[in-house]
């Protein structure tokens, strides 16, 4: 049975490494639902967050293949309840919103969103939340004329994980294998 898994990958800062990792999915005909990459809390170490819908057996195999890449420090996978995640979305709506200011403001406030840019032709609203919250606000704002919509991939921190710096120390003292045993349990 397929589930949604969030794969967190910690890597060295290397040109082309993201490509090396996405190839692992492409080769197996797996669609990446979302992907983000940024520097982690440790300078020089990057964090990729990849969301996929696959079986447990497959996610285990994928993570092993990712882990095998030379410049990957460590890869983990987690089910949704094991992570705290957010996406950010930007909604650009038409100036109808200005004409129906009261209703518009109510919708924005109810959804804990923010108006971040106002011009004569359009208004830009920002919302941070999970996928369904972002979708809900989208449907509410559609009545004002949706001109443009963009959402980030998921960024996530995991509940059961130790801090990255602890891992790094362990990595230096141990092998990946030993570490694997107390994380992806």
């Amino acid at each position: 049975m397929k589930s949604t898994y969030t794969i967190s990958i910690f890597t060295e800062d290397r040109i082309g490494l993201l490509n090396r990792i996405t190839i692992i999915f492409t080769r197996r005909h797996i669609n990446i639902e979302s992907i983000t990459a940024s520097e982690s809390e440790v300078k020089g170490i990057y964090r990729y967050t990849i969301v996929v819908s696959v079986t447990n057996d497959l996610v285990e195999k994928l993570v092993k293949q990712i882990d095998k890449q030379i410049e990957v420090l460590k890869a983990f996978y987690h089910l949704m309840p094991e992570i705290v995640s957010r996406e950010i979305a930007l909604y650009k709506v038409s100036n109808i919103a200005l004409k129906e200011n009261e209703l518009f403001t109510k919708v924005v406030n109810e959804h804990h969103a923010k108006i971040i840019n106002v011009s004569a032709d359009y208004i830009v609203v920002e919302k941070t939340g999970d996928e369904s919250e972002i979708n809900k606000l989208f449907s509410q704002l559609e009545q004002f004329g949706m001109l443009e919509f963009a959402r980030s991939g998921k960024v996530a921190v995991t509940k059961p994980m130790k801090t990255l710096t602890t891992y790094l120390k362990e990595i230096e003292n141990n092998s990946k294998t030993t570490i694997k045993h107390f994380n992806n349990n």
Partner: protein
């Protein structure tokens, strides 16, 4: 001549390439020059007394030669090629090395860094192209980064589960100046090549093996790569466990040993396949359950507990779930396992293999090596080759029927003497790989056993043999067919021989054109004498043997069938 002992002097990046190789004790390189790698070739010109370069006739040949070199010597094979087509021509060999865990270091020239991404002449994104088939790769754009990149490349290629790496060096980096110093790479913080063996896992494996009635060892390439032949032999003897070998594991276990039961897989021996589904503990050592070994996975060894000894964690549970997995180097793991293993007899279990062997002998082997047919058969040629070389030759094969026949009928006395393209099944591998093997071990008798199809895929490497005087023996088993495909067409495509019949040139005349002696055999009466002449030749020699056109290789586990459904005819 320049000495490479002088550090801290200013050199070009190109010279740093050569100096780094010398510091890594590289003595042989296979390659082909071209525009973007010219500075490296120019630097090489001053070091030919320390570094032998073999000029191949196509870059693919360089990769296979480097593979052959590596497989017998245990050292990484080194390849030079230029950018663009030179680099793309390496891909087949790199992919072959990746799937067969062979350490290769490929050094490619690249257009100058300011031209990257401009569709410059002979520019290809070889780092991008080779990414899926390399263990690691890198592009270097500065002279000072060359030595560290090469040091890292060698470390990655040769450590843990070995594999191919590629270092792409832009032309400006080759021309650039740097102060040369060399530091060997011995660790990378994100890379743990060899997992530490967990004693608990070894205990669990020992418990399963000690309680087994019918244990069975599958010996893979990992045994050879870690040099665990003696430990494997000791384990088998102590617990009286039958041993079968994968294609790449051939030569790891003495073939005449009473515990050696034969060769696994689609065209392997009868007992080793059939009895996979009768053992109670399956002990896989340094192998990855290739589909050619398992047949239908859902009907593979379902009755057995599986113990998997493996260096690459990604191979554990990839195909066949392991009840106990022992991660780590095979030699180290087996050394820890041995004292925990109890000695015992298993006469009845071993007799099952002997009985199967008798059936296979009667139904397949006897008629294959002593046929009544008018035309010669491949198996009798290989059988004779084995007898005349006393099982001591290094035999390099290409891909197809002749490869399966050689794997079945040549009995390798010495570890690493079987060299073949396993996982990728690369036709054209044989001839250049034999060249590389002979370069690595000039004192050994190296015989390339080829089919008429595969030979023609890299036949131009006869030029390499000619130019570098490489005394490789070439045995072409010519059936004027792409025999393995034809066999499948016969069995599964209603004998519709779509484009498998192949006209061949006068191979002897071709060889003669390259200054290589040769002979063609069509009669059984001349076979032994001709093989002897080939083996005794001090120089390269081509022997073409005309064999039965429509011979099939049996036994056979058809695609989708279980190993227990192995066909004898």
């Amino acid at each position: 001549m320049k000495s490479h002992t002088k550090y801290n002097k200013e050199v070009t990046g190109a010279e740093a390439v050569i100096l780094s190789l010398l510091d890594l004790n590289v003595t042989n390189v296979f390659g082909y020059p071209g525009g973007a790698i010219m500075p490296v070739y120019d630097a090489l010109y001053d070091y030919t007394d320390q570094l032998n370069h073999y000029l191949v006739r196509h870059e693919q040949g360089a990769t296979h030669a480097a593979q052959g070199y590596s497989r017998i010597s245990g050292k990484p094979g080194v390849v030079f090629a230029t950018s663009g087509p030179g680099a793309t021509n390496l891909i087949t060999g790199i992919a072959d090395a990746q799937i067969d865990s062979t350490p290769l270091v490929c050094i490619t020239g690249q257009v100058a860094s300011q031209l990257l991404g401009t569709d410059a002449f002979q520019e290809t994104d070889v780092v991008g192209i080779s990414m899926p088939v390399t263990k690691w790769n890198i592009q270097v754009t500065k002279a000072e980064d060359i030595a560290p990149a090469i040091a890292k490349a060698f470390y990655i290629a040769t450590s843990g589960r070995p594999g191919p790496v590629l270092v792409d060096i832009t032309k400006d980096a080759q021309f650039g100046k740097t102060v040369y110093s060399f530091q060997k790479c011995e660790s990378i913080r994100s890379y743990f090549p060899t997992p530490k063996v967990n004693p608990d896992e070894v205990d669990a494996a020992a418990a399963l093996i000690n309680n087994a009635e019918r244990p069975y060892i599958l010996c893979g390439h990992g045994v050879l790569l870690s040099g665990a032949e003696k430990q494997l032999l000791a384990l088998a003897e102590k617990a009286q466990i039958p041993v079968a070998s994968t294609l790449l594991g051939l030569s790891a276990f003495p073939p005449q040993h009473p515990l050696y039961v034969g060769y696994l897989g689609m065209h392997g021996n009868y007992g080793p396949n059939l009895l996979t589904n009768e053992c109670d503990v399956l002990i896989a050592i340094g192998m990855r359950f290739d589909d050619r070994v398992t047949g239908n996975v859902s009907k593979y060894a379902k009755q057995a507990k599986v113990v998997h000894f493996e260096i690459d964690p990604a191979e554990i549970n990839k195909i066949i779930p392991a009840d106990v997995s022992v991660m780590g180097d095979a030699k180290e793991s087996l050394e820890l396992l041995l004292p925990r293993i109890k000695s015992r007899e298993r006469k009845n279990w071993l007799k099952r293999f002997a009985d199967c062997n008798e059936i296979e002998n009667e139904k397949v082997i006897e008629s294959a090596i002593h046929p009544n047919s008018e035309k010669l058969r491949m198996a009798e040629v290989v059988h004779q080759l084995h007898a005349l070389s006393n099982g001591n030759a290094v035999v390099v094969t290409d891909v197809g029927q002749h490869q399966m026949i050689t794997s079945r009928y040549y009995k390798f006395n010495n570890p690493n003497h079987s060299i073949t393209s396993g996982g990728l099944g690369t036709m054209g591998f044989g001839l250049p790989a034999a060249i590389g093997a002979k370069v690595a071990k000039p004192q050994e008798q190296v015989v390339a056993v080829l089919g008429d199809g595969g030979f023609q895929m890299t036949i131009q490497e006869l030029g390499t043999i000619m130019q570098s005087n490489i005394a490789v023996k070439i045995l072409v088993l010519n059936n004027n067919f792409l025999g393995m495909v034809r066999q499948w067409q016969q069995l599964f495509f209603d004998r519709r021989y779509s484009f498998t019949e192949m006209k061949t040139p006068d191979f002897i005349m071709v060889a003669n054109g390259y200054g290589i002696k040769g002979k063609k055999v069509t009669e059984r009466a001349n076979l032994q004498e001709s093989l002897t002449e080939m083996l005794e030749s001090k120089e390269a020699y081509l022997l073409e043997v005309i064999v039965e056109n429509e011979e099939n290789v049996f036994p056979m586990v058809a695609t989708g069938a279980s190993v227990a459904e192995i066909r004898l005819e």
